[in-house]
Amino acid sequence: MRPDDRERGAMSTHSVNPPQPVSLSRRGLRERLGSELSFVPVALGLVALFVFFAAESDVFLTSRNLNNLLVQATVTGIIALGLVFVLLVGEIDLSVAATSGIASVLMAKLVVDADLPIPLAVLSGVLSGVAIGAASGRWITLIGVPSFVVTLGVGLVLNGIQLLLLPNTGRYNLLNTGVERLAATYVSGLAAWLLVLSGIVAIACLRLADLRDRKAEGLPTSLLGSVVTPTALIGGAMIAILLFLEGQRGLPMPVILFALLLGVMAYLAGQTRFGLHLYAIGANAEAARRAGIKVERIKIAAFAIAGGMAAFGGILAASRILGVSVSSGGGVGGGALLLESIAAAVIGGVSLFGGRGRVVGALFGALIIATVSNGLNLMGVANEARLIVTGLLLIVAVSIDRGIEKAASHG
């Protein structure tokens, strides 16, 4: 049982290789398309759609229409933003539309029937969404049942409760209650510029902090690649949107709120430990568990985020259409609102198989859906065709997703 000393010394000297530099940039394009650049195909698709509709309709590129388009995209986009978290851990939430409906009805009831101050009512609505999501998540992780069945059931339960909460008229009118100001407020002039600039400064600061950390650890850095280019791209897009919308009435409040939430959620998913663990669980829950990650807790948090975002999206929608009714939250079963929210996330490159995609995909996906809808409308195409095109887009997106999944695992 003695260790054998025969060639031990010889072997370890033998195995000393000359140190090679640790390479950092061997990531192929295919690999990057599967992760941090997963939104690029859809961004290109969006540009193509813009070019197409601009050629087909004179009205499309007017700032009035773009304003409409952006606001149309926000409700779907905000719901999709929350769904991304659930999709990343490899689950799905089919109750998000119903959650948005019940949260908006609850908020309206508190404002109209109980005369609660609007911020409190909105907060209650959002918290109800968080609670619904957390409860679904707890049940799914506790019993180990498929999330799509549980959330389908939860959605129907919520639809029922929504009907119970509504008065006999089947509708709460929110005109002149103050709630409508949430969606109808515009920020323009100096305030709008300050908002956009502070957004750009925040991004630049985060990027610079990364650069400083890397320098401190003696790692290779690139000011151009890691700070200047991303900041210029995002900042440029933000300024372009601002310039377009200044011609109308300024930045619509829903768009500002969406941008803020997008920033916070992108940070959460991309920069924090919680975000990293979402991705780990989505790829290999067993490995995550063995690494000491509290898989159940993180899944519950993901459902809670989806519920909260859905609730907020629903409240925003109520504020925009000046009331809540039976059809708030897409009506029974969630209808187009549910399908378009899921489609937005998937079209934006978030995988239904878990662990792949970026939060910003929800933005691009929602924009694509809103653009198709808006553009076809302007071209005078009937509603039937709009449904067919959106459906086909979803099929194409999920097929591309499958293709990338295969390529990434055999790359």
Partner: protein, 258 residues
């Protein structure tokens, strides 16, 4: 190693384990010594995996004793065994394919900023530390920011081993690290295994690859057959045939057949 002989750091004595009516292990003993690589070989169903899981604390034996650093241990499970300094790399590697090498290495124990940053990951520090660790293990050729899903089998195996080393264990148990690897990749893993022993760790490797891996890279070969200790060899004075005979039952098997 001219000085006094090292005492075993991990020993199993007289371990037996049944699953239902099936006897997986019967009265098995095994020693792991610091600075030494032990190969655990045997046919399918010989009890190799059961024995490794017993050492890892996943399986609690029906009879027999677990000694660690000379003391009899009554552990509560795999977490406590890992905390004592016994790390196990299972065959499935437990890697996340969508994460890069750095993220996989530190999965579950990331260094993060304060709460008001939302526990922001200290990516740069993790990257630099990963770089140091991989360099020390002579795995410099692994690109830190590539998704491990896009890496070769050998590189994935090495990352899984490197991750277990980050815990600074005293014992490393490797379950079939070369099963799916080419000869050259297996040789790379073999080099790594020898390096670990060279740094004073006790290493146990399950392998089927007697001729290309076990004889070249281990000090001691323990053979299991039908859940019992069948033979033990010094790797330096044994031939592949002798090992294989011990695995399949050699003359006994022939006699039984005749």
């Amino acid at each position: 190693m001219a000085h006094e002989p090292d005492a075993p750091i991990l020993s199993l004595r007289g371990v037996s384990k049944s699953f239902g009516g099936v006897k997986a292990l019967t009265d098995v003993s095994l020693d792991l010594v610091p600075g030494t690589v032990v190969a655990l070989v045997g046919d399918n169903g010989a009890g190799k995996s059961t024995l490794v899981k017993t050492m890892a604390g996943v399986i609690r034996p029906d009879r027999g004793d677990y000694f660690f650093e000379g003391r009899k241990v009554h552990h509560s499970g795999p977490a406590e065994v890992a905390a004592m300094g016994v790390q196990t790399v299972y065959q499935d590697l437990a890697l996340c394919n969508n994460l890069d090498a750095v993220q996989n290495l530190y999965l579950g124990r990331e260094e993060v900023g304060p709460w008001w940053t939302g526990f922001r990951l200290k990516r740069a520090r993790a990257e630099r530390r990963s770089k140091d660790v991989l360099r020390r293990m002579r795995l410099d050729s692994i690109a830190l920011d590539r998704n491990v899903g896009a890496m070769s089998g050998g590189q994935r195996q090495n990352i899984a081993i490197a991750r277990s080393i980050l815990w600074e264990p005293k014992v490393v148990l490797l379950d079939e690290p070369t099963a799916a690897l080419s000869h050259s990749a297996a040789a790379q893993v073999g080099k790594l295994v020898r390096d670990l022993a060279g740094q004073g760790l006790a290493v146990l490797v399950i392998s089927h690859d007697i001729h290309h891996f076990v004889l070249d890279n281990t000090d001691r070969i323990e053979v299991l057959r039908l859940g019992r200790n069948a033979a033990g060899f010094d790797s330096s004075d044994v031939t592949g045939e002798q090992v294989v005979n011990a695995m399949v039952g050699g003359n006994e098997a022939i006699n039984a057949a005749g």
